[in-house]
Amino acid sequence: MQGLKTPQIMILESVRRLARERLMPLSRELDLKGEFSWEVVELFGEMGLLQIFLPPEFGGLEEDKCLMFSLIVEEVAKACASSALLIIIQAVGSYPIVESGSQELQERVFPRLASGKELIAYLVTEPDAGSDVASISTKAIKKGEYYLIQGRKCFGTNAGVANLSSVLTKTAPSEYTFFLVEMNSKGVILGKVEDKLGFRGSNTQEVFFEEVLVHERDIIGKKGEGFLLAMKDFDMSRPGIAALALGIAEAAIEYALEYATKRVTFGQPLIKHQAISFMIADAWTLIEAGRGLMSKAARLWDQGIRNTKYASMAKCFCSDAAMKITTDAVQILGGYGYCKDYPVERMFRDAKLTQIFEGANQIQRIIIQRELLRERNINLD
C-alpha cells in the first residue's frame, strides 16, 4: 500500500508475523472445533489490535485509523478470518461510544477496553430485523431515571464472550437509541450458539433481554441518535469487511497459485495450463481492484469525508470477488481442495459470510444508488 509511514509499515509487518506464526497454526483447529479462542483475544489485546479506534491515550492509533484498521484486518484474515472478525466486532461495538458517548460513559468504558482483555458486542440484528434495521422490536421503557430493556437479539457476534455490548433499542415508535449494557446484568440471558457454515472460530449467539435495568447514563450519545450512529458505524466497518474479504481471497488464491506451480498434470505444472493461469490472473485483477476501492473508502473516512458510497462499493465488490476467488481456488486444487486437509475449503465457507453480514450485498447496492442520487440532488421520494 502506497503512502504509508515507517511506523505504520512496521505495525503491519508485526501483524503479518503474528498472523503467520501464531494464527496460521490455530486457524484449522478453531474451524474444526468451532471454538472461540481467548488466546487470540490475548494476543490481539497485547498488540493493541482491539483498541485501534480508541483515543491514543487508551491505546488507539494516532492517525489513519480506518486505513490501518482495514490493512490489519486484511493481514489477519489471510491467516484466520474468524480472528480478523474479532478485531472488526471490537471496533464496531465500541464505535458508538467513541463517536458519541458522553464523557462520563467514555471514562467508564475506555479504560476497560484499553486493557485489551474485555470484549464488546454489537447487538442490533433481530429475528425479524436483518437488512431492515428499522424493524427492530427490542424496547427500552423509561422508568424514572432508569430504562427497562425488553427484547431479543440474534446473530450477535461475540455475544456469548463479551462483557459489554452496544444494544440498539426503540425508545419510542420511531426513535432508536443505543444503550451500553453489561452482559452480566440481571435479565441478560444467552440463547443458542449458532452452528454456522463458516467463521466457525467466531462466536455467534442469541441474546434475550428480560427487563434488563439500565441507567439513563448508559444511553450512548443522545436518545434517538441510535439509527444515525448505526449507519455511521457502517461507514467505518465496511472498509474493514472489504479488507476481511480480500484477506480471505488473497490467502486462497496464493495457496492455489503455489499448488499450481507444484502439481503436475499432463506433463507440466498445473499453472502452465491456460485454463488455470487465467483463473489466477482474474483473481489477482479482482483483488487489486478491490484493494483500490477498500483503501479509497478507508482514506476518505480518515479524512472525515463522507465515504458511504465507497464503503458500500468496497464491501460489495470485495466480498463478491472473495466468493468467486475462493470458489476458483477450491477448483484449482480439485478433489484435494474439497477436503479439510487443505485450507481453501474453509476460506470458501468463510467468504460466503462476507457477502451477507454488515449489510447484505443487496443492501449495499441500494445504498450506492441512494448515494448516487443524493450526489446529484435528485429526490424521488
Binding site: T125, D128, A129, G130, S131, D132, S135, C154, F155, E194, D195, K196, L197, G198, V264, T265, F266, H273, A275, I276, M323, T327, V330, Q331, G334, G335, G337, Y338, C339, K340, D341, E345, F348, R349, K352, L353, Q355, I356, F357, A360, N361, Q362, R365, I366
Partner: protein
C-alpha cells in the same frame, strides 16, 4: 421435450414419495454425522434403485438413462449424498454391463441388483484429471493378475462389495495399456486407508484403497486386456450425465428452499419475494437451472438413442453447465436467506457445500471444457 411412458411416470411418482418420506428427513442428520447413507441404501435396495440401468433379465429395472437422470434429480433436490450413492453404484456397474462377459454379467449384475454396493476406482493421488499418470499395476502370471498400487477419493470405496478397478497392464502403451477388473470385497491384498473428511457431500464415503500383491483371477478382467481406457471413458461419459442430473437437482432444491423462505420473510413491510432484486435473482436462477436441465435431458437422450458421436460432447457440456449453475444458484440461495441461510438450521448451506463437488468430481469442469472444446473444434 420429455415423453415418459405410463410405467416410467409411475416409477418417478413412487420415487418422489420415497424421497419425501425416507430421504428428506435424514438429509440434515446424515450431513452432520458424515456417514455412508445406510438408510438410503436400504430403501433404494428395496425398490430396485441400486440397479436402475441393469436390464430386467439380470434382475435390474432396465430404465432409460433419461429416467435414471430424472430419479437422480429428484433425490438430489433433498439429499445429494444419497444420489451420489446411486451414481457410484452405476459407475461401478456400467463397465460390467458395457463390456463384461455373459458369465460376469450373470455373476455380478444380479448381486448388484439385490443391493450389493459397487464402486469405480480410477483416481490416484497423482492421477486425477490426468488419469494416464496412474501407477497401479496389474501383472499377469499363470491365470491371474497380481495388482499393486493405490487409489484415492473412491466413492463408496470402503463399503463396496464390488469395485471396478483400473490398472496398467502395459504402462509403456499408456492409454492402450490399461485394463479393468472386478475386485470383490475381502480379496486378500485389498486394504482401506482413510475416508476423506470433506467440506460437503458428507453423507458419502470417499476412501483410499491399497492393493498389496492382490491376486485377481483372469476371469475377473472386464473386456480385453489393454482395452480398459476406452471403457473408462465410456463409463465416465455416463457418469458425467449423472453428475449433471445431480447438480440440476441440487440447484432446484436450493431454489425451492429460498423461494418458500422469501415468500414468508417480511422485510421493509413486504415479503422479500416481492422485492425486485430478489425476483431477478430467482428469474436468473430458474432460467439457468431450466437450461441446464434441458441440456442434461438432451445428453441422456443421446445415450438412450445411441447417438455415439454426440455423447461425449453433450455429457461434458451438461456436466459443466449444470454444476456451474448449481454453484451459482446455491450461493445465491444462501444470499437470499441471509444470516439464516448461513446457519445449519436451514439446508441451503449444505446444498452450497454439496454443489462445489459437482464442479470437481468425475472430471473437473476444466476437463469437461477440454472434452467439449476438442469435439467442437473437430467439428462434432
Amino acid at each position: 421435450m420429455v415423453n415418459l411412458t405410463e410405467t416410467e411416470r409411475i416409477t418417478l411418482e413412487t420415487i418422489k414419495k420415497i424421497v419425501q418420506k425416507d430421504i428428506r428427513p435424514m438429509a440434515g442428520p446424515l450431513d452432520e454425522k458424515g456417514e455412508f447413507p445406510w438408510h438410503a441404501h436400504k430403501v433404494f435396495s428395496e425398490v430396485g434403485l441400486m440397479a436402475t440401468l441393469i436390464p430386467e433379465e439380470y434382475g435390474g429395472m432396465g430404465l432409460r438413462y433419461l429416467v435414471f437422470s430424472m430419479i437422480l434429480e429428484e433425490i438430489s433436490k433433498v439429499c445429494a449424498s444419497s444420489a451420489l450413492l446411486l451414481i457410484a453404484q452405476a459407475d461401478g456397474t456400467l463397465p460390467i454391463l458395457y463390456r463384461g462377459s455373459e458369465d460376469q454379467k450373470k455373476t455380478f449384475l444380479p448381486e448388484l441388483a439385490k443391493g450389493a454396493i459397487g464402486a469405480f476406482a480410477a483416481t490416484e493421488p497423482s492421477a486425477g484429471s490426468d488419469i494416464l499418470s496412474m501407477r497401479t499395476r496389474a501383472t499377469y502370471s499363470e491365470g491371474l493378475y497380481v495388482i499393486n498400487g493405490q487409489k484415492c477419493f473412491i466413492t463408496n470405496g470402503s463399503v463396496a462389495d464390488l469395485i471396478c478397478l483400473f490398472a496398467y497392464t502395459d504402462p509403456e502403451k499408456r492409454a492402450k495399456g490399461i485394463s479393468a477388473f472386478v475386485v470383490e470385497k475381502g480379496t486378500p491384498g485389498l486394504s482401506y486407508g482413510k475416508n476423506e473428511n470433506k467440506m460437503g457431500m458428507k453423507g458419502s464415503v470417499n476412501s483410499e484403497l491399497f492393493f498389496d500383491n492382490m491376486r485377481i483371477p483372469e476371469s475377473h478382467r472386464i473386456g480385453e486386456e489393454n482395452e480398459g481406457f476406452s471403457l473408462m471413458m465410456k463409463t465416465l461419459d455416463s457418469s458425467r450425465l449423472f453428475c449433471a442430473s445431480q447438480a440440476v437437482g441440487i440447484a432446484q432444491g436450493a431454489i425451492d428452499e429460498a423461494l418458500s423462505y422469501s415468500r414468508q420473510r417480511v422485510q421493509f413491510g413486504k415479503p422479500i419475494a416481492h422485492i425486485q432484486a430478489i425476483q431477478f435473482m430467482f428469474a436468473d436462477m430458474v432460467a439457468a437451472t431450466e437450461a441446464a436441465r434441458l441440456l442434461t435431458y438432451q445428453a441422456a437422450a443421446n445415450i438412450d438413442k445411441g447417438r455415439t458421436a454426440l455423447i461425449s460432447k453433450y455429457c461434458a457440456m451438461a456436466k459443466f453447465l449444470a454444476s456451474d449453475t448449481a454453484m451459482k444458484v446455491t450461493t445465491d440461495a444462501v444470499q437470499i436467506m441471509g444470516g439464516y441461510g448461513y446457519m445449519k438450521d436451514f439446508p441451503v448451506e449444505r446444498m452450497m457445500r454439496d454443489a462445489k463437488l459437482t464442479q470437481i468430481y468425475t472430471g473437473t469442469n476444466q476437463i469437461m471444457r477440454v472434452v467439449a472444446g476438442r469435439e467442437i473444434v473437430r467439428g462434432g
